[in-house]
Symmetry: C2
Subunit: 202 residues, 2 copies
């Protein structure tokens, strides 16, 4: 009755983490899924918070064991989502939030589509995205360029998402996000439905 | 950006109209779709409120003209939803609410799936449904029996709906309904998405 996965996607610079943070007191108990990666940690990144950092060998063993709900290889590094903490959180009635890309969304929907609600969060325009990425000035110009090219591709896939939120105002975007998260909590898994149907008729 | 259809289904006795009425002040501007039928009006039914009552000939002309978003023939009578008032309401930014059966839901989803959010509303159990139908004592025993048989079939299809609401408490059911209706308003049509993508990249 409250097994829901909320998938968030959107370009870097869309404001996803800001929105989650602003909404966190209003969406009830949730688990923010931490990805596992084989890439090296950057300055300030904390193992278990930003990512679980593992070796390539560990990751590949995990793949063989079927540990991952979804994974992908990007620029010679693996990124993936472990199934175990997700299942635990779902069993505890928590809303599970994923911040993953379009490819990851497709895989999660394939694996657990009955309880997935997905949202694509985007800045109002490409120009605004450029402005935001340039003004935070934390990234190299090459990385910014790549992010912008990625965003142009990603935006074409927004039709695959249940909802699109334009982050033109953080207050409005947060409000929309809270509404969608509350609705997501009302999702039932196929398994829960089957039990309900059986008991209902009895 | 606010073109949404909210489909409600569920057995007679589930409390659909009570929930809509209780929620009506909280879900913003909406249009409750009135079906068209060829069956005779019953005592107290008002043309244009409960149904649009038309002749068989008028209905069949409507079918030929493509007037109906969905229609079905049940026990020698036609029931259907005219497209025109629905389109008008959507163009005016209203949430369009349908109270239709499982078959109608399938047809509406087929025709306008991108903006449909669907909810199946049900009493907590078959026993409770029987109790409610019997206690209101407005219906013939034969009709009640048929409704109960229908409900047993319908409940098996709840997996086709985006959400299921158990009407065990009117306050809770109303609250869940309001949450879903607010989220539905955030739906975008495929057309709106296409325009947005085009403008976003420009």
């Amino acid at each position: 009755m409250s097994s829901a996965i909320l998938v968030l996607s959107g370009p870097s610079g869309a404001g996803k983490s800001t929105i989650i943070e602003a909404a966190s007191s209003e969406i009830g108990d949730y688990y923010f899924s931490v990805s596992t990666t084989t890439r090296e940690s950057r300055d300030g990144e904390v193992d278990g918070v930003d990512y679980y950092f593992v070796t390539k060998e560990e990751f590949e063993e995990g793949i063989k064991r079927g540990d991952f709900l979804e994974y992908a290889k990007v620029h010679d590094n693996y990124y993936g989502t472990s199934l175990k903490p997700v299942k635990e959180a779902l069993n505890n009635g928590k809303l599970v939030i994923f911040d993953i890309d379009i490819q990851g969304h497709r895989l999660v929907r394939e694996a657990m589509g009955d309880i997935v609600v997905s949202v694509f969060i985007t800045p109002p325009s490409l120009k605004e995205l450029e402005r935001r990425l340039t003004s935070r000035a934390t990234d190299d110009i090459e990385i910014i360029k790549r992010r912008i090219e990625n965003a142009k591709d990603e935006i074409k896939a927004i039709g695959e998402y249940d909802y699109v939120i334009i982050n033109d105002s953080i207050d409005l975007a947060k409000e929309r996000f809270v509404t969608i998260a509350k609705a997501a909590r009302l999702k039932w898994s196929r398994e829960e439905l089957d039990i309900f149907i059986k008991e209902w008729i009895d």
